[in-house]
Amino acid sequence: MASPVEQFKLKPLLPLEVGGLDLSYTTSALWMTITVIGVTAFLTLSMRGGRLVPGRWQSMAEMAYEFVANMVRENIGNEGRQYFPFVFTLFLFILFGNLMGMIPYAYTFTSQIIVTFAMAFAIFVGVTILGLVRHGFHFFTLFFPSGTPIALAPVLIPIEVISYFVRPVSLSVRLFANMMAGHTMMKVFGGFVIALGIFGVAPMVLIVALTGFEILVAVLQAYVFTMLTCMYLNDAIHLH
């Protein structure tokens, strides 16, 4: 039987090598493309009629929009409005990627650490530049909030600096580990169903429940990722 982690193996579909760099079009890239097409189709097709009283598809698109718009407004406030397109794109990309990974035989690109790390690192760099441009040298008060006793500085500053620089790692590993662990767990229980023969009904029932749980986790992790992005943006704009 195949090992539970074999599902994460990348298969090059269009092998391509440029100057020693492997730039093949892989299954991961294929599913990213499908996700982008899916999101675009979802938003454009559902809003094509643009009726005042929304139908089923249109209200789904409007609910997604409202959900992210509220999240941005509550976390960042009025200045956050210009970052809404970015946050909305990020949310839909991760959400569709996670949910499409739940289709049997599909590939979950968010279970690749490099994909999530690239997103988290881009956010980290962008937020840092944004903070520096907006506040200049004043940005560094982020590491030492005003009103703190000066005696605490030697303890507080290293902690704040470390927790700031660990952000891209924790943000990316959270999404990646959730996806990878969930899919591995499903595969392991799937193995039990085959191995136990007639008694495989018991893990079969469990796996139905697990699938529901995994769909919840897929939505939740997309929410958590965008929520933390909003919080980081808020930190850079308002400095605590």
Binding site: S170, V173, R174, A177, N178, A181, L220, Q221, Y223, V224
Partner: protein, 74 residues
Amino acid sequence: MELDAAKMIGAGLAVIALAGVGVGIGNIFSSLVSSIARNPAARGEVFGIGILGFALTEAIALFALLISFLILFT
């Protein structure tokens, strides 16, 4: 051979962190239940925060799992 055995033990030790995560998730949901019991009107708001806390705590469990996988498979 001994390296393999040590790897197995190390992977087992790495997931001891789950004890703390279990306490944490239990704590989150116990306070969630008691706060909803005290003020059922706040359910919608509190539930979202509770789920966020759950997701953040669960991530710690997965960090431990990740370390144990790294020990086992590399």
